[in-house]
Subunit: 137 residues, 2 copies
Amino acid sequence: MAISETRKLVSMDKPLVSAISDICDPEESKVAFVRDLFGRLGEKWSMRTLDELAHGPLRFTALMNVLPGISHRILTVTLRTLETDGMVSRTAYPETPPRVEYALTPLGESFVCRALSMVAWAQDHQREIEANRANRR
Amino acid sequence: MAISETRKLVSMDKPLVSAISDICDPEESKVAFVRDLFGRLGEKWSMRTLDELAHGPLRFTALMNVLPGISHRILTVTLRTLETDGMVSRTAYPETPPRVEYALTPLGESFVCRALSMVAWAQDHQREIEANRANRR
DNA sequence: CGGTATCCAAAAGGATACTG
DNA sequence: CAGTATCCTTTTGGATACCG
């Protein structure tokens, strides 16, 4: 796809995020937004959490169980971030003891679909990448 | 896409990474690999660096200039990681003063293509996500 | 110029105790 | 049970000086 020859052709715009600007609006705010979002989703447990919720709603404690190694506190902050972005919904049932269910929102489902294509890519290239790492060590 | 109903159907397998296991091999090593790769690419400057190189090869100093705010040392470690994974190539020309060019490898180009679809998703949902954030703070 | 080595600051993550 | 608050450890990133 000769992506490496495009600098000469479109030398005045910015990359990745901005390759998209060839099509739409090159506003700096969009670049910042995408970088920020990627940062949030790159947090240690975000993808794993979304992944678990992709199989159906789960309670706080259930999530702890399927995410071995996560701490009480980190699960809370991870869920709060995802909730703030609208990827996950939180439903508290007014009972004693309390019961809270977390689930993917439609936005969250939409994201997971895209993420799956990245996962597929990663798996397709696993041998290639591991071979590279081995050669250099 | 009713992804939220699948837990009952395939209750014994694992998520995201593993939704893919419905199709191929559910080996734990693959899950670990993808998580690890995502972690590397989630590092602060990895995506930005790939992005810049997507427009063509660049020298070390040129990269510093197009990545405002990155430190000398961090650019080095970022490039080393990308090089180790085979996403970026490093070519040193034996001159004085030294000249070193970094470029995307075919693997790196392939990755950037996939990443662009994630970027597009992010931009498509920017308003939606920002609206969610605003509501909750 | 393109690094590596050293040192330091900031942020992320984790353990744990306490609460409604 | 599902948190919040507090404290501590680890990791990451940045500033800087020096080297081939």
